[in-house]
Each structure stands twice: as structure tokens, then as C-alpha cells.
Amino acid sequence: MSQFDFSVVLTGEFRHWLVSGFLLSLKLTGITWLLALPLGSGIALCRLSSVTALRWFGATFVEVIRNIPLLMHLLFWYFAVPELLPWPARDWLNTHGAESICAVIALTLYTAAYMAEDVRSGIRAVPATQLEAARALGFGFLASMRRIVLPQAIRITVPPLISQTLSLWKNTSIATVIGTAELMYQAQRVETATFRGVETFVVTTVAYLSVSLLITAGAVWYQRRFPVRAS
């Protein structure tokens, strides 16, 4: 074992394991992102609304979810919550990939809480006069948000959102504790089977870094192409 032999890890069965893990990690990231963004935006709007109950709900949602580690969320959704469901729902869940579904739920809520804060600060960065002018012109709250405020807010919000996406990509690795067969899970499996820790982890690190650097490059590109205009 004194020589590093990458071919063991990169061929045949083990490569298949690692690749399927990588693809599942990407899928988890994609699906979570598509679900978390609308949810996060919704929560942000709740926090900004004039209805006290909605504001309270939004604030509680964000604070509770952000102050509990993702690992706890995953354990909670996989081991605690299904016990509350009626049997038919539980059985359906268990035969249809409970690991991945619970991982997506936990990740979505966690990411949405962070995205909500980013969207909220993005919206607040748009001067209040914009909203006032829109209301004065006769737009309802939602319409003025949709047509006037949010488009301006987006430019400010995108860089923090991209950094949340990066966090999301890295957070998928924690799903290994509930048995989701993503990249980290498969890496542990390959390491157990081959006893080659260095090679396995180098390959896995490179895989994670490749997507991370792509996302970071995307952020840099966006900030160059769409710089925030001073108002």
C-alpha cells in the first residue's frame, strides 16, 4: 500500500459506485434548489408582509431551522417524522426511496431558510420609494412585488444565492447518515472495499471541487456581467 494506485478506484465496479454517487448528489442539489428557491422567496415575503401572523411565522421558520444543524434535520425527518405518518403513507415512502425523499425535504427546508434571509435583504436593499410609487400607481402588494421590486432585488440577491447553492452542494454530503447513496456514502463504501483511503478521497475531493469551482466561477461571471447599479 505504499504506492498510490488510482486505477483501482477509477475502474470497474468502484468507478460505477462513485459515478452513481456523484450523479445522485447532483440530482439532490438540483431538486432541492428548485424547491427551496420558491419556498425561500415565499418565506421572505412573509417576513416583509404587513400581516403580523405571517411575519411571526416567517421569523420563527427561519430562526428555528437555521439554529439546528443539518445532521439533526436529516435524522429528524428520516427517523422521527415517518413514525407520525399513517401506515399507507409510510409504506409508500419506504418503497419509493425514503432516504432520498427525506434528504430532499430536510435539505429544502434548511436551504430555504437561508435563501429566505438572502432574498429578504435583497428586497430590503431596493429603496422603499419603489414600492410606494408602485402602490401609488394602483398595483396591489403582490403585483408591485412581482413587477417592480423583485426584478430589481434579483440582481442584488443573486451572489448570496449562488453562495447558498455552493453550501447546498456541500451539504448533500451529510445525507450519508440516513443512508442516501450519494457521493460521500459511495466513497466510504469504496474505501471499505479497497482499503485505499488516499486514492478514494482524492478522487472524491476532486469531484466535489470541480462542481464547487464551477459554481464559484458562475458567481464571479455574474458579478462581472451584472454588476449592482448604484441607485
Binding site: M1, P82, E83, V177, G179, A181, Y185, Q188, R189, G197
Partner: protein
Amino acid sequence: MVQATSASVRKKFFIRVQRAFMVRRLCAGNIVRKAEASVDTPAFVIQFPAMIRITALVSLFTLSLAPAAAQADQIADIRKNGELVCGVLGTDEPESFVDPKTRKIIGYDVDLCEAIARKLGVKPQIKQLSVAARIPELLQGRVDILAASLTHTKEREAVIAFSLTTFVTGQRVMVRRDSGIQSLAQLAGKKVVTVKGGTQEPNVRKAVPRVEVVTFETAPQAFVALQQRKAVGFVNDEVSLLDAYAKLGAAQKDYAVLPDSISTEALALGLRKNEPALKSLVDETLRELEKSGAAEKLFFKWFGPGTRLNFQKRNFKLETDRITE
């Protein structure tokens, strides 16, 4: 010094010194000449160039002794530290588990480790490890010995050494009765759960090629997943499985352990390779336990009548470290 020894010894010395001298000349230049030329060199060195050669010879001797010293190192290290660090699982009743009342780790493996520590004359230090981390931790030197429900396999022999087999068991599958599964073959296409990093996953995949396996960090965690109906089967060492089954109490009627074993597991203590002194000491301790009857008493203490497992007799002895393949 040279003058005081006998003639034949002097002759052998001289031949060796010539060789040593040639080696040193090749490697590091002529030390005698340097010594003679130096003003600060003590008088006896210049007067007796042979002294230099003897020193070179002695140092080569010492270097050749070093590998042998390294072999005895681990026992010496353990005695120097005053403790034997044993890696145990702490999550595998009754081999090693946390006693809820005293919050200490106890079990069959722990008792074996304590016996070896007694033999070495040091204190045992119990360190809890995850299943997947056992061999890496041993290889990294964080633990001196593994008493962690470790299966002796041919693949593992390439990286670590094993003591005499301390326990023989099989691996079996526990299923939910309402899944209607009564044989291994019916598991094809279904989901089973087990612990990460052990021999369970590869064994069940070999026994049932189309089975779906999900693994968790600890075996009890996987068992919880079975009980929560996340899978139809739970794979583990027979002893741990039977213990978990016994713990179910009234819920036993919902579960069954499939009769077929998916493998035979010879559990043994894990040691680093190239430590023959430690291995022979460990094996000797185990043999002594067997001869004095202490080994059988230990078996019955944790697995015998009166315990949850209620085994009536022991079907192995602590006598060999050969495994059948």
C-alpha cells in the same frame, strides 16, 4: 581496546572493519584523514585511527539491530505508556456495549482486552470506534489492538494480523414477518439494511445478487430502520442479531430470523502486521484462558443460559487462527 581482545576475534574485527571502512569511504569521505588533519580532534582519535573504524563498525551493528528493535517496539511502547488502547464498538451487545447504569463499556470483547492488559501488566483503555473506522484506526496507530467484533477474512489479512479466533458465528438476516419472506432468495429486489464498513454488505450481496442494501453508521441505527419498516431485512452477525431479537420482547412475534446463514464469521482480535512479539503474547493469553476454563466461563457469562441469548453450549474453542475459505 583492540589490543585487549584475542587474536581470532581481532582478525574477524579487522575484516569487518575493512568492509565498514570501505562503505564509509564510499559514502562519506575519508574520516580518518579528516580526523588527523583537524586541530580540535582529541589526541586518542589521531593516535588510534582504528578507533574510528570501530566506531563505524559499532554504528553499522546498531543499525542492523534496529529492525529487530522495531519489532519489539509495540510491547515496549505499551509498557512505557502504561496502558493498552483497545478499540471496541460499544454498540454491539453483548460483545461491547454501553451499560446504561454505569455508562461504562462492557462486554465479551472488553473482558478479553482486560485479560491481555493484565498479562502485559498495564491498564486497559477502552476506545469506542465505528465499524468502518476499525481497521484505519489500527493502521494509524491510534489503537493498539482491536476487540471490535472483527471478522477474520483473507482480504483483511493483507493489511492486518489476527489473533486466535475468539468467536465463531454466522451472519444472518432478520426479517419482518408481515413481509412474507421466508428464505434468502425472496430478498431479491427488496431492501435490507445493515451497518457501514463491515463484511455484512458484501456478504449479503454475494448471497442475494439483486438485493438492495442501505447502510447506516451503527448497527443499532440500522435496526431502528428495520423496525420503522424502512426495509424488510436487517443483516448482522448472528450473535448481535439474536441479541437484538431477544431485546424486542413482546414485539418478537413480528420478526423472524431467517434460518440460512449468509456466511460464517470467525471473529478475532486485530493487530498490526509485523508485530510477532505482541501477536504471540496475545495468542498465549488466549490459550491460557482456554486451558484454565476462563474462556468458556466468559462465553457463558455473556452468551450462556440466563443471558438474553441463552446459548446452551459453545461450539468453538480459542485454539486456532486459521480460517476456512
